[in-house]
């Protein structure tokens, strides 16, 4: 068997500015491809990406070569496997289950969403990306995690600094200095709040982890909260912006979504169409084979869920935003043991609460110049602006 072909033409710039035509070509021509600019083997077909994520023994998340560890100053659950991962994951999952989100947090989310949406001015052009999507996602997350004392500004800044650090594949000192400063701020706040959450547990992730019968170590409690801060703001924000773009540029679908109250479908389609986390990495633990090519131990494969979500084998016209698909088995939340711990939170807040509320308050919202919207990102992707007129 041969190694996968090596591509030396595709650049990181291309993957960040307009990856979809590239992925479409790769699905047809080279679904297993070593891409020199990324230093990894890219997998672009749905069957391959799922097979990799469902097999953590062979394709490990425990990759010591990523900048994630210095950025979080911890080896986090995202980068662990097996029993060790399970224990830490279970500790935080309890705060994020469908039942808890619906019964305990639903009313609070609705109230917070209402407050933030009520602040938006009518009749003006507003950038929803900066004025609503980011701050609201931050506020809701602060409550779920049990750190509502943190401001929206802090939550968003910490999140971005953690992500910049975790994405610092150039290993430059500045991003780590910045994430260090953020870690100091977070650790100080968590320590200050610890006695309060212990004395009056409020069902938040922090309180549940602190008061568990057999608690995980304090360092890992902190690391878990940080992972949720890093992963819980940008993705819902990007998801919301993507869905709004999809609906506002397809008014016929928007009308139908309204008529059928199908906001949850719109949510699933938005994250299928442009997955907020487009790619994940896994370290190969034994020599193996994928799609007919030899994959050596020590190689890093990258599952491109962005591409899997448009795979012609699963979707008719996957390149288009179309809410009313028969089936939508997308991989935007990943697969396997690392399947997004916040999936239920995201579904409920964005799909069931924010979207209907926003269109209820501003039924004639428009996006006058869709061409002005800029899309960006290889690891993470979404519009970076969304100038709408609220009416």
């Amino acid at each position: 068997m041969a190694l996968a072909p090596l591509d030396e033409a595709i650049t990181l710039d291309q993957l960040s500015s307009d990856p979809y035509p590239i992925y479409r070509r790769l699905r047809a021509e080279s679904p297993v491809l070593r891409v020199a600019s990324t230093g990894r083997t890219l997998l672009t077909k749905a069957a391959l990406t799922k097979a990799v994520k469902d097999n953590p023994e062979l394709f490990s998340s425990d990759d010591p070569k990523t900048p994630m560890k210095p950025a979080f100053r911890a080896h986090t659950l995202m980068r662990k496997d097996g029993k060790e991962h399970f224990v830490e994951r279970k500790a935080i999952s309890k705060a994020l289950t469908p039942k808890r989100i619906k019964a305990d947090w639903g009313p609070l989310y609705a109230q917070l969403s209402e407050e933030y949406i009520a602040r938006l001015p009518r009749g003006e052009t507003v950038d929803l990306f900066t004025d609503l999507c980011g701050p609201l996602a931050a506020r809701i997350l602060a409550h779920i995690l049990g750190i509502p004392e943190a401001s929206d500004e802090q939550m968003m800044r910490w999140s971005q600094l953690l992500i910049d650090g975790a994405g610092n594949f150039g290993w430059k000192p500045e991003p780590f200095a910045a994430s260090d400063a953020a870690n100091d701020e977070m650790d100080a706040l968590f320590a200050e709040l610890e006695p309060i959450r212990r004395a009056e547990p409020d069902g938040s992730a922090y309180a549940l982890m602190l008061t568990a019968e057999d608690p995980i170590p304090m360092s890992q409690i902190h690391a878990n909260i940080k992972i949720a801060i890093g992963g819980g703001i940008n993705e819902p924000r990007d998801a919301l912006a993507t869905i709004l773009y999809g609906l506002l540029t397809n008014p016929d679908q928007l009308a139908e979504v309204r008529a059928q109250d199908a906001w949850d479908k719109a949510f699933e389609e938005g994250i299928r169409w442009v997955a907020p986390i487009q790619a994940s990495s896994r370290l190969v633990t034994e020599d193996t084979e994928l799609g007919g090519f030899e994959i050596p131990k020590g190689d890093t494969v990258m599952t491109i869920q962005a591409s899997a979500n448009r795979d012609e084998e699963l979707y008719e016209d996957g390149e288009s935003f179309f809410v009313f698909r028969d089936k939508n088995p997308h991989q935007a939340f990943g697969n396997g043991p690392h399947h997004c711990a916040g999936a239920h939170v995201a579904r409920r807040t964005v799909g069931k609460i924010i979207l209907p509320m926003l269109f209820d308050r501003f039924p004639d919202m428009t996006l006058p110049n869709p061409d002005e919207v800029v899309w960006k990102g290889f690891g993470f992707r979404g519009p970076i602006n969304l100038p709408v007129v609220l009416n």
Binding site: K53, F86, K90
Partner: protein
Amino acid sequence: MIKVTYVAHDGTETVIEAEEGTSVMQAAVSNDVEGIVGECGGSMMCATCHCYVDEAWEAKTGARSDDEDEMLEGAASEVTERSRLSCQIKLDPSLDGLVVHLPEEQL
């Protein structure tokens, strides 16, 4: 092959033939049975593969593990004595003819 019947919340029955060794969740997902999502691929991380084992089969499918119990607590629909995570029920010949009922919602 092992026969499994899935009874949806509205009473619709889907009968499939599954291979020995697969789970009730995997069998449902690979046969497009609606009502079982199974997002985490059977890692006991998502509780979207919740099912109720038919009374007649309760003894044969066995008891839930502690980890399963904990994860089930978070399921979207009501959890009863007969609730299981279908990814944790492995099909063997003793389960030929198994009947499971599906909850109203998984998400």
